[in-house]
């Protein structure tokens, strides 16, 4: 049941590049990554593409397919029309290294800037007790496979290189939310630092990140919005502001 399809692949590096058209065979049930591999094995031996598990679990084969951020291993060729050209391009928010491979080191840098899990000092191994309902909130965010599609699609940084310095992005907002909701984490002010150091306030909840998440994590509804609401409570709560003033007066 093989048929020929038209594939348009972006090829090049950080200095220049462009779209190239190829015809390639596609078999029943194949995903876009399969046909890219076929191109690689038969026509372009040096075509660069990242992939690992080919089962939607590692988040390596992130790219843009007909302009949409997607995992190539989870995108069926059959989802496109018989005569439709499938265009594959590298993630736009990150610098191109070669062909479909981009430099995603921004994300690993941001990961280092989020303070680690902090259990109580007297907690001993094996003694942790947590209710399933309590761990489930954080477990949702720990499903993240770090494909960085949410980072790629987020308009705060997608076309605004200048914002990258002060904006951690949706992947790391769910990391902060995960730790903040972890039943045993004792580090205070995670929400406040999300706002003050990681750019939570720059997000205007358009939910683009949630839409592209292959793990269907409700990034905006379950992580970002609850944190934004709490930040408002903490930072702009009149009672707290008043008591803060009193404390300051006392200190003075």
């Amino acid at each position: 049941m093989a048929r020929k399809i038209n594939l348009r692949i972006w090829r090049g590096d950080s200095t220049n590049g462009g779209l190239q058209d190829v015809q390639v065979e596609a078999n029943e049930g194949e995903v876009v990554l399969d046909v890219i591999h076929r191109v690689q094995a038969t026509q372009m031996g040096d075509l660069a593409v990242r992939w690992n598990c080919k089962a939607g679990k590692c988040g390596s084969c992130s790219m843009e397919i007909n302009g949409k951020p997607r995992l190539a291993c989870m995108t069926q060729v059959a989802a496109y029309g018989e005569d439709e050209t499938i265009t594959v391009t590298p993630l736009r928010a990150f610098p191109v290294i070669k062909d479909l491979v981009t430099d995603v080191s921004f994300n690993y840098q941001k990961a280092m800037e989020i303070p680690a899990y902090a259990p109580p000092a007297d907690l001993k191994p094996g003694e942790a007790r947590m209710e399933q309902v309590d761990v489930e909130r954080s477990q949702e965010f720990r499903k993240c496979i770090e494909c960085f599609l949410c980072q790629n699609t987020c308009h705060v940084i997608r076309d605004h290189e200048e914002n990258k310095k002060s904006f951690a992005g949706p992947r790391f907002f769910i990391r902060i939310a995960e730790l903040d909701m972890h039943p045993l984490d004792i580090l205070k002010n995670r929400k406040r630092t999300a706002q003050e150091e990681h750019g939570l306030g720059m997000c205007n909840i358009t939910k683009c990140c949630t839409e592209v998440c292959p793990e269907h994590i409700k990034i905006t509804d379950n992580a970002i919005i609850p944190m934004k609401e709490r930040v408002v409570d903490i930072k702009y709560d009149p009672a707290r502001m008043f008591s803060g003033l009193l404390k300051r007066e006392k200190r003075n």
Binding site: E28, D46, R50, K54, A55, K57, Y108, R129, V135
Partner: protein, 628 residues
């Protein structure tokens, strides 16, 4: 090239950033050493993320009768008593601590009603024993350790002003050579995948944690990374591989559509009550319970079904036999013409569990089938068949330190190490293995580094390693690495697969040698920058050595045991149980010899009923009653 060569000096170099490598790196760093971690992919993408079911540890949370002795017994039985007893003992004793430790680092396992870590049933384990997070346990493990490494880097930043002062991850870098000076480890050589430029690491200790060899085979659950790099690097560095004939074909890989053939369907599906049927609707596993397991597995449906509610008074369903048994059974059903349309059997969980429970306990399986095969597993059965999943064989190591036998400064842990699982690994024992022995490799390497002096790598050694990387670019019109890889996979699939014969193995050895000869003439198109054709040329070299070692070990072992089934020698032979197969490499070819298997000491021997041991051991061994 040498003039501009990028050079790094570390105390410990860890090759591989899956569970074992990361656990080793944490341990070495916490011993005060400077550590480099080499990742072939991006950080956090290693094949450990694919582990689904869980990590086996006898915490006793689900059944308080569980303890390390029961786990030890199950592991030895699963491996058909070919396991290195000391590794199985350390593993069973230490895995609970390793799981609790992960929890201290932020892992969030599923919970019991009392708020403890929940444990699930799995093949070959007497009690519910697998700590898990739905069916994405591997992801939780790797992310937890990735985040632990970041936590260590944050501490270094506070103390030394630099995140990467004491532990640095080199992502997308491939090691092509382990370097020795005066018979001791001195470092390693490799290239950045991104740029193709070369890197020299100088380190007195190298820990190999490169995982498996699945890509040597056509149908596999492994990603492109599973090309036996560490097995080959170790062989070339003068280490031995033990028992390379033992490969685990996981009974349940996807079979349809073709593009996903081989992708894993977690054993948890059976652990949660999934049943296997053939095209006649027959629940066939009852026909395949081997004698050694007859008293532990139900021989009728009623009892098997009752077991899910009452484990104390019923025997287990035969779907939960060790993986080698289930894989062979499925293979036989399909060969006998009782398979599905696409050459598998049916695995059905929809009849026992509600849609809601299936989506909660097996969420990624539901997605995988829905999105890749158009099958809704809450309503219909899956089609499954055996897939090459895990290599039990690997680097011969000292159990306590994970030191590679014969090469001072070299260590190995995780799937790349041999001995722990004998002839067949139980599900769930891989994640606990990599935690237990990853830590021990880190400790072993740290102790070694503290009593040795680092030797600089000589220019001649560097020049030879550099020349090897350059070679495929200098050729034109040579062989294509993609086609040679496909040819190798055909040979292993057809001749060294799940059922083997002497004649086919002989044929395989010749064909592998022939492909290896041609691979010396591989030419690479394009430049050095992120060039997969170039990368595959080196992976291919490794896979060929692994395949040679496997085929040569397999032709020697004239019996069937665990992950090695000989059609011409169908029985298990207690004489053969007394031997390991040791592969070594002389620079041109792999040779295999027999070596006596270390015998259990009396205290471990006495954990078993003599009647059970009689099924595996010779009368002389039984009479000896354990070594002292």
């Amino acid at each position: 090239m040498t003039n501009a060569l990028e050079r790094h000096k570390y105390d410990v170099l860890v090759i591989g950033a899956g569970g074992a490598g990361l656990r080793a790196a944490v341990e070495a760093r916490e011993s005060g050493l400077r550590v480099a971690i080499i990742c072939k992919s991006l950080f956090g993408k290693a094949h450990t993320v694919m582990a689904e079911g869980g990590a086996a540890a006898s915490m006793g949370n689900a059944n308080s009768n569980d303890n390390w002795k029961v786990h030890f017994r199950d592991t030895m039985r699963g491996g058909k008593f070919l396991n290195h007893f000391r590794m199985a003992e350390l593993h069973a004793k230490e895995s609970p601590d390793r799981i609790w430790e992960l929890e201290m680092w932020g892992a969030l396992f599923d919970r019991t009603k009392e708020g403890k870590i929940s444990q699930r049933n799995f093949g070959g384990h007497e009690y519910p024993r697998l700590a898990h997070v739905g069916d994405r346990t591997g992801l939780e493990l790797i992310r937890t350790m990735q985040q632990k490494i970041v936590a260590l880097q944050q501490a270094d930043k506070r103390e030394h002003g630099d995140y990467e002062s004491h532990i640095k991850v080199f992502a997308e870098l491939t090691i092509t050579e382990i370097l020795k000076e005066n018979g001791k480890i001195a470092g390693a050589y490799g290239y950045w995948r991104e740029s193709g430029s070369e890197v020299l690491f100088e380190a007195p200790a190298v820990i190999i944690a490169t995982g498996g060899v699945g890509k040597t085979f056509k149908i596999t659950s492994n990603s492109w990374e599973g090309t036996g790099d560490g097995h080959a690097l170790a062989l070339k560095a003068g280490a031995n591989l033990v028992d390379m004939e033992f490969l685990q074909f996981h009974p349940t890989g996807m079979v349809w559509p073709p593009s996903v053939r081989g992708i894993l369907v977690t054993e948890s599906v059976r652990g949660e009550g999934g049943i296997l049927t053939n095209n006649k609707g027959e629940r066939f596993m009852f026909k395949y319970i081997p004698d050694v397991f007859k008293d532990k597995y139900a021989d009728n449906e009623a009892e098997a079904d009752r077991w899910y509610e009452d484990q104390d008074n019923n025997r287990r369903p035969p779907e939960l036999l060790p993986r080698d048994e289930v894989a062979r059974a499925i293979n036989s059903e399909v060969k006998a013409g009782r398979g599905t349309e696409h050459g598998g059997v049916f695995l059905d969980v929809s009849k026992r569990l509600s849609a809601e429970v299936i989506k909660k306990r097996l969420p990624s399986m539901w997605h995988q089938f829905y999105e890749l095969a158009g099958v809704d597993i809450t309503k219909e059965p899956m089609e499954v068949g055996p897939t090459c999943h895990y290599v039990m064989g690997g680097v011969e190591v000292e159990p306590d330190t994970a030191a590679a036998v014969g090469v001072p400064g070299l260590f190995a842990a995780g799937e790349v190490a041999g001995g722990m699982h004998g002839s067949n690994r139980l599900g769930g024992n891989s994640l606990s293995d990599l935690l237990v022995f990853g830590r021990r490799a880190g400790m072993g390497a740290a102790a070694y580094v503290k009593q040795t002096t680092a030797t600089p790598v000589s220019d001649a050694n560097v020049a030879a390693a550099a020349a090897r990387i350059e070679a495929p670019f200098a050729r034109s019109g040579g062989e294509n690495s993609y086609s040679l890889h496909a040819e190798l996979q055909e040979v292993t699939h057809n001749l060294v697969g799940i059922i083997r014969t002497g004649a086919e193995l002989k044929d395989a050895i010749e064909k592998i040698a022939e492909i290896r000869k041609r691979s010396a003439n591989v030419a690479v198109a394009g430049g050095r920058k992120f060039n997969p054709g170039f990368h595959l040329a080196f992976d291919l070299d490794n896979m060929l050595l692994v395949a040679e070692s496997t085929a040569k070990s397999a032709i020697g072992r004239e019996e069937s045991r665990g992950g090695h089934t000989r059609d011409d020698f169908p029985g298990m032979d207690s004489g053969w149980r007394q031997y390991n197969h040791i592969s070594s490499f002389d620079g041109t070819q792999v040779s295999v010899r027999k070596q006596a298997l270390p015998f259990m000491p009396k205290d471990l021997f006495d954990l078993f009923e003599v009647d059970e041991l009689k099924k595996y051991m010779t009368p002389e061994e039984i009479a000896k009653g354990g070594s002292n």
